[in-house]
Amino acid sequence: MQIAARRLDQVTIFDITGHIDLANSPELRKVLLKELKETKTPRVILNLTGVRYIDSSGVASLVEGLKAARDQGLRFILYGLSPSAREVLQLSRLIKIFEVFDNEQQALA
């Protein structure tokens, strides 16, 4: 898994690639929480286009990111969910907790 941050004017985009599972979800959590602390934009977007798989520990890391963002009053947006990633958020009934969009254009709108 790789994470890179693009800091734009009003929004920070995290481009994540690779599978998110028990092997790297602790790292995702750490990086997300650290990056969120430094985030001064009102909106945070996770680009998951390059993520084919997310396990339950990855979902947990996303929930932690969402909570941290909310604590700071930031919007926390996901886009580019693979079929498997979408299913996992649906199964955990979290799809409605997150703001989910299809692509970057919609996430930025």
Binding site: D21, L22, A23, D55, S56, V63, S84, L91, R93
Partner: protein
């Protein structure tokens, strides 16, 4: 969704199909997923079924790593996959049986009642995913070995299903 062994009559298991033995290192989860994903594909499951069986096995193996082995990365996990066929609730069915074996801390049966999903909090989702994906999920413990038996049947239209159907 889940028939926890109720009404499951004696099933005939095929001989060897695929067995995996791996170290309890989370780095190897992607290897297990890749193998199970392909195995479910060649077995004739639909793409969503392949994804969901793969997810269930991934979560079950991750649970063994974290809970049964307390995250020691050099313990042994066995994943044994077989084709099965037989009468289930009076219906002839075929499916894929996946057994996980470990020698770690026995499963706490009280934990089997997975937490409610109404609360938004991290953790406690794995067992939900496994139950949701599989038709059978059975835990047992004997002679220091924990066994988790997962079964997914082919749907009536599925490739692996005999003509006797529903």
């Amino acid at each position: 969704m889940l028939a926890e062994s109720q009404g499951v009559e004696r099933l005939h298991t095929s001989g060897l199909l695929l067995d995996l033995t791996l170290a309890s290192d989370p780095q190897l989860l992607c290897v297990v997923r890749a193998a199970i994903e392909r195995l479910t594909e060649v077995s004739g499951f639909s793409p969503p079924e392949c994804r969901s069986i793969t997810r269930a096995v991934d979560e079950a193996v991750a649970n063994v790593m974290r809970h049964a082995y307390g995250s020691s990365p050099d313990k042994r996990i066995d994943v044994s996959c077989k084709r099965i066929a037989g009468m289930v609730n009076g219906i002839q069915r075929e499916g894929l049986e996946i057994e996980l074996l470990d020698q770690g801390v026995p499963f706490d049966q009280k934990k089997l009642t997975a937490r409610s999903l109404d609360e938004v909090k991290p953790g406690g989702l794995g067992l939900h995913f496994i139950r949701d994906s599989m038709d059978v999920m059975e835990h047992s413990h004997k002679d220091g070995v924990n066994r988790l038996r997962l079964v997914k049947y082919f749907s009536a239209e599925g490739k692996g299903q005999t003509s006797q159907g529903e």
